[in-house]
Symmetry: C2
Subunit: 123 residues, 2 copies
């Protein structure tokens, strides 16, 4: 079974790093723009921009540099720190898949056969 394992880090002062923000950073790297990255997730430009702004303020240096122009203007790129944070987060996640495999298997083995049940309903 392809269980997806997700890691979330809650730092102090309400600062949080999880799968959504990390995926957005990776998409910015791929697309070279905040708008393009947002579109990949069906996210309004403003929402993507606010997340980037939050990430940039969370850390001692920006994770994303927007170049020039306005909205769809100048493109954006990860800084060295942005790339580093993505790497460390993904590395932690990969470790978890290996290290907690025993516990995760032992939860999985008790799952009901999938599709047996409507899952959302309760009646």
């Amino acid at each position: 079974m392809a269980t997806r394992i997700t890691l979330r880090l809650d730092f102090d002062a309400g600062r949080r790093l999880g799968p959504g923000k990390v995926a957005l950073l990776e998409a910015i790297r791929r697309h070279g723009s905040i708008a393009g990255a947002g579109r990949e997730f069906g996210m309004a430009y403003r929402r993507a921009w606010l997340l980037v702004d939050e990430l940039n303020r969370m850390f001692s240096q920006p994770l994303v540099l927007a170049r020039g122009g306005g909205r769809d203007g100048g493109g954006a790129a990860l800084t060295d720190l942005g790339a580093e944070i993505v790497t460390q987060y993904r590395r932690a996640e990969a470790k978890i898949e290996r290290q907690a495999a025993i516990e995760i298997r032992s939860i999985e083995q008790h799952l009901a056969p999938s599709g047996e049940d409507g899952s959302q309903g309760h009646g």
Copy 2:
């Protein structure tokens, strides 16, 4: 810094186990009732009951047994499987804190000094 690490497991067919459901199971064990557990999290009884129902259907056997009565009626307890799932989940989480400590520290060390910034605003 006391970073909180949270694990979420996405199985197939939209079935998911994460911190909310696990905390609810632990609260049911403490309170001996679904209503009591829900109250601890300021959760409506119906919401708590639906989560329990979802958990019970997710696995091959129920995780929670409600005893007798209606709403605040008869109390509830974890089954052996319920206790087992909680144990494995918490064990996986504890392993992560140990095993991914290096990556998490290396993310933490780049955080901005906390309280420096309004965090929610975007200036």
